[in-house]
Assembly symmetry: D2
Homo-oligomer: 370 residues x 4
Amino acid sequence: MIGGGIGAFIGDAHRRASRICNDFELVGGVFDVDYEKSKQFAKKEGIAADRCYKSVDALIKAEKALPADKRMQAVSIVTPNALHYPFAKALLNAGFHLVCEKPMTMTVKEAVELEKLVEKTKLTFALTHTYTGYPMVRQMRDIIASGALGTIQRIDAQYYQGWINSIIHGTGSRITGVWRLDPKHAGASSCMGDIGVHAFNLIEYTTGIEIKEVLSDLNPVKDGIKLDLDGTVLVRFNKKLKGVIRASQVCGGEENNLTIAVYGSKASLKWGQENPNYLTMLSDTEPTKVFKPAHGYNDKFAESSHTMPPGHPEGIYEALANIYKGTAKSIRKEKFTPGEFPTVHDGVRGMKFIHAVVESNKGGNKWVKL
Amino acid sequence: MIGGGIGAFIGDAHRRASRICNDFELVGGVFDVDYEKSKQFAKKEGIAADRCYKSVDALIKAEKALPADKRMQAVSIVTPNALHYPFAKALLNAGFHLVCEKPMTMTVKEAVELEKLVEKTKLTFALTHTYTGYPMVRQMRDIIASGALGTIQRIDAQYYQGWINSIIHGTGSRITGVWRLDPKHAGASSCMGDIGVHAFNLIEYTTGIEIKEVLSDLNPVKDGIKLDLDGTVLVRFNKKLKGVIRASQVCGGEENNLTIAVYGSKASLKWGQENPNYLTMLSDTEPTKVFKPAHGYNDKFAESSHTMPPGHPEGIYEALANIYKGTAKSIRKEKFTPGEFPTVHDGVRGMKFIHAVVESNKGGNKWVKL
Amino acid sequence: MIGGGIGAFIGDAHRRASRICNDFELVGGVFDVDYEKSKQFAKKEGIAADRCYKSVDALIKAEKALPADKRMQAVSIVTPNALHYPFAKALLNAGFHLVCEKPMTMTVKEAVELEKLVEKTKLTFALTHTYTGYPMVRQMRDIIASGALGTIQRIDAQYYQGWINSIIHGTGSRITGVWRLDPKHAGASSCMGDIGVHAFNLIEYTTGIEIKEVLSDLNPVKDGIKLDLDGTVLVRFNKKLKGVIRASQVCGGEENNLTIAVYGSKASLKWGQENPNYLTMLSDTEPTKVFKPAHGYNDKFAESSHTMPPGHPEGIYEALANIYKGTAKSIRKEKFTPGEFPTVHDGVRGMKFIHAVVESNKGGNKWVKL
Amino acid sequence: MIGGGIGAFIGDAHRRASRICNDFELVGGVFDVDYEKSKQFAKKEGIAADRCYKSVDALIKAEKALPADKRMQAVSIVTPNALHYPFAKALLNAGFHLVCEKPMTMTVKEAVELEKLVEKTKLTFALTHTYTGYPMVRQMRDIIASGALGTIQRIDAQYYQGWINSIIHGTGSRITGVWRLDPKHAGASSCMGDIGVHAFNLIEYTTGIEIKEVLSDLNPVKDGIKLDLDGTVLVRFNKKLKGVIRASQVCGGEENNLTIAVYGSKASLKWGQENPNYLTMLSDTEPTKVFKPAHGYNDKFAESSHTMPPGHPEGIYEALANIYKGTAKSIRKEKFTPGEFPTVHDGVRGMKFIHAVVESNKGGNKWVKL
């Protein structure tokens, strides 16, 4: 992993996700520009000190010297935007598979160059448009591919957030991410580069139709801001199909409101990231249908992207992880909050409840004390 | 881990959760009553063959022979209900910390015995009432403890599922879990023992008030079924506070609909598991308020139970894990579905989009081709 | 109309509803026990002074003396509960059709007596279980009658309100309705008599199945309160079908939360009064379906109960009525709030908008000033 | 009333609304271009034959000849768009107050002319932007006027319908309204003229801020269609405030999905017409708040626009009207559907329920037969 050291939210997300899917193990990296901090982080994560490197070059050199079965196979790049390209290029040339945060590069030219390099090296390159990993996004893609919507007539995608208000107005509590307002680190765009591009990707991912032309109106919102924090983009797919992408970082109170609606002559589909387990199909002639994960009516690909039974949001893993976390604190004799995990006493209460309930019923629906 | 081998859903959930919280490593266990299957599973998970044991006794003996820093510290029991008690007892007596699935035991007597054993051994015992790990459940607990609801006047909890229809009527696709209908493996109750007890626990967890008396009406629903698949329980907390617990496994189409409502003289709180990031506060005098994770207005404990920024359901980790999973397949040259992970080509498209958008805006809102 | 004078909410609702359906005209009545107030009310409503009566007896005598084509045909009884029976009896005996508020009487005996009287007189008697007038309730009834749910396995109805808190605790702003706490005026029950009975009626209306037995636990909630303000009722339909009715007037912040869920072996239906245009069908094997009014897929009876096109909640009539109300004020030179109705200036703005939009598009998507 | 004869949906809506608000009585009009049909309609509505006129000119002449207290005071114009202007002009010149459907005229010039005429005559002119009559729209206006949102940073309004699919593709069941596709009757625009203008009006109504410039991209969607059926409009309010209006008549399955979101530096407001009783306030620092009608926390103007207690959608009047309608059929010995109104038998069942419930509770929670 390159970047993602102490305090980095997206690096942590990558580590958790890779542990959940259980196909990767974090063995080394360059976690911070400050080597001392990088080493602290490596120690905390239980990573061998000799695989915590000073630079990407050092990492490449040392790892390539290891025997093939010990060597790092894939690298995740989770640095600020401006560093994606040089590191990706160096690592691809050195033969590493890559997982890279978006936006992929700073310019189109760099992006095309990476594309060619991947073709040449035949390495795997994954860009983390995370939202395409949701089961119902994949189901949406499958339904559209099946032609069930008829002719597509309008496409509308939205990505509204409000967190930059906390930076530009001092409201809210988020103060990290200021680099996103600086063209040197963020590139040509803040709002469109950070989130508009997700809406764009979601359209092309779910429909398989490419956007041909755009017309935009961007808004820096406040004097002194150099990049767009808000904007609307008219998009055209072909002569008869038009749509719109709306994105903003100043919609106060919006959290992470990414939505997509694809309207067809026969039926339409709507999905929203904040309640990702609901895919709604509208029709002029039939009741509205709501697709949810873990059902036989879904496509195989969508179903393979989900592990829980119906009605269990995947966040339940985190709920269970919280129980494990509390348990670990208790085992290590650390301080924990009462209620961090259910104890044996809760077990006793539960057994009393079950047996009292059964006894009440057997006794002809009588009151039974616990 | 005891139980949880190939095909076991809850064992898999425990492993994922423990990997997310990153405080545990799975080093051994008894994964199946069939030793061959258990070994297969251990191999698949990369667990050393010599720590895949034939029985719980064998595990205890071998692990205790290891030096303290190599020894298994905690054991997760994820077997059918009837085996919880004997294994928990043996493991506690042998000095292991425990994570145990619910219901904890088959009888109240066994439960009380375990409680005393935990007190005596001072070991950590965690019962997986998973729902208490949700940030907004913890926030609910905190708000109620603060007295903000005034006098509590009614409590209503519901746990509705429909999956047993697929077994008793042959509808739906779930056919595992038949042991839940057999008193020998499930104990005195199916519906109340499996899910009613979660509703019960959630009431006591969030309110801190104990249920004193119950009156139940249970329903086996179909001839030949020996246990309750459905039921309603009148509950009393004290002279003036009453409530109800409703649970069913035959509510066709209900997925995992656990809800709780606590009504007070000043305000009320409602939460539902299927959309766990929304905690609703009702009042007679103020607009309805909706609490969500990742905000400064929440209690510290609730906030520490969440890792994502606002509006990112925790299931996003699984979405990202799906991206990683597809990447791993590609690296291993396994077959994968197009769309399993975004490629460098998606990166090129994204860069084109961002730059076209910026160019359109700069040029006075003109159409720009991608 | 008997009752329903100045300040009476339910009498006003009856008048509005009868004007909407346009089959009735209010020609006279006894609007208040206080004759002066009754006359004031009649004057305000434009009712002839000589048809504003001192008593029900006076009304009967005078109306019967009129020629048949001038005579009052039907009477609405909207008094407190205790007066329903004597007035209904007298009016039926005198040959008037009746619309009567619920609960119909104070005792079962009185109710049965009225039933016999209606049979004998062959007059029309309508009890205002208003909720049975919603299009989607009628659609629910039709779907259940069609057998689409399979064997019904559980029925759960809820009616939660919180308004009595404002009386018993002094919270909230509603202070009328205190007579509901007085057994002399309200009868044997407050909560169950006022709202529980609606939940009961909705179950029998939608399913066509009669409740055979009940077991209840009622709660007066506070010292000194003589009637139930809260309760749970276990209900049995037949040996295998059970259910529950939950009702409360102390669920702080609940407004008028009447819901019904009917669970069958093949599919289930859920409806809630606060969003009455949504009827949800759950199934173990198909996507959730949402039925809405004004669609060809609905039953004829349900469709005939609705007048608006899809997506127009019927409350839109009131929105339009508000526009008319503001217009009337303006015509009468009364004071009105700016924004009470859109003026000709809004029309000018609208035309400018439409033409600017068309011009921008024609000119190749240019900016056009309004 | 001009227009609105047999089969006209919007004329019917105007009549119902005027009856609800109870300030108007329909006394005459020109209901159809076909005089015979107009007379049929007048007869059905109980309107005097001599006030059913052949033309607007005839109406003006005859009504002006009546004494002032008998004369028609206000006229509603509910004809196709092209007739609004000539009729409005003639009626204003003749001294009648007007209620006029939108769009007000065919051209901006005509609109401005009417505006001047209204100023000169000092008559009341109401344009039916019906959505401004909703209580929560008025509450939104009030909150914004109070400054509670801080600096407004983005405004987004949407009006999506799908019904024109049924005309252009033959899906769905609506076949009226074809005149909307004909420039001669509809004017310069279909989608923007019919519904986009509502979104526009709602923005200016709720915020009090005027739109200064627009840039649009309109879509006729299908070959041979002469007007826009779909479009996106970029809007600018001032240098720093931008927004978007999206409108479509081809969003298959969308019913009447008018929404508005106003985002400010301190807080934001969102409202949608399909669930008009919910006004949502978002904030970066506080829980989301949901405002509903019939609460003391609302503005006086919003509150005066609502007549029901909390949780009663105004559509409940129509539900009650349906009960009255069924009752009327029964009184007139017309055929009615069982279930059209609750009968005395339902009253008996209800009384049995209430008394059984009370008895069960008194007897220590025993089963009681109905």
